[in-house]
Point group: C2
Chain length 139, copies 2
């Protein structure tokens, strides 16, 4: 259940997964518990070329091996669902990445932080300010 790479030039889940893996995780996170063919059907909705059942199965089982999905067998049908919720996943990843980044680059990150926040969403700077204030009050 460990992500190893954060890909710079991708977006969203593609930063953590391969493109097909990412689509599958998204589908599973948007549903409760699905069989392979359900996932395949959903994938085929925005794909022009239908995906081979076995392709979907292989990738899903690999995701199970890696600990991102859990599999439950009901009769002969496997039912898959994510190990953790999307929110938890993103929470964990952002936390881990933030820590790694600070650990690795401490001062450099602080230097770039405000620029980045300004560019993306200035309100986040206010949010950060609040958090610092709150932290100081606690001590």
């Amino acid at each position: 259940m460990k992500i190893h790479n954060f890909k710079y030039h991708e977006r969203g889940l593609n930063r953590f997964f391969g493109p097909l893996e990412a689509k599958i995780m998204n589908i599973l996170w948007d549903s409760s518990e699905l069989a392979i063919k359900d996932v395949q059907a959903k994938l085929d909705q925005d794909q022009t070329k239908p995906l081979n059942f076995n392709t979907v199965m292989t990738v899903m089982n690999r995701l199970v091996d890696k600990g991102f999905l859990t599999k439950r067998t009901e009769g002969r049908t496997g039912l898959y669902q994510p190990m953790v919720s999307r929110d938890d996943f993103l929470e964990n990843q952002s936390k881990e990445l933030t820590h790694e980044l600070i650990e690795e680059f401490g001062p450099l990150v602080v230097n770039h932080m405000l620029d980045a926040l300004e560019e993306v969403d200035v309100d986040l700077i206010a949010m950060l300010e609040q958090k610092i204030k709150a932290l100081k009050k606690d001590n």
Copy 2:
């Protein structure tokens, strides 16, 4: 000259490069301009098993192809040096990563920021505070 991956569970340059690539970059960054055999010699200092000359050459030339090293031919001997300084490299990477992280996770990162700073180096929080103050004064 683009790094594609940031590896979570490595340290230092190994986050950006393969292990041998990282050692080579380090050696080149600690020297001015080196030939392959010089790099090989330095690598063999902390390696128990000496590295094949061709191995070192292949990896160095790949680093040239990727744009991390430049190569200059003096007579028949190729001389290699990093495209940018170690500081610039780390500066660029930390900047890019910080931006990507904020772009992807904005509020989540802000949430984890202070924790991370506290754990690694509390002085960095003061530094961040200063930067926010300076920013507000500018506007």
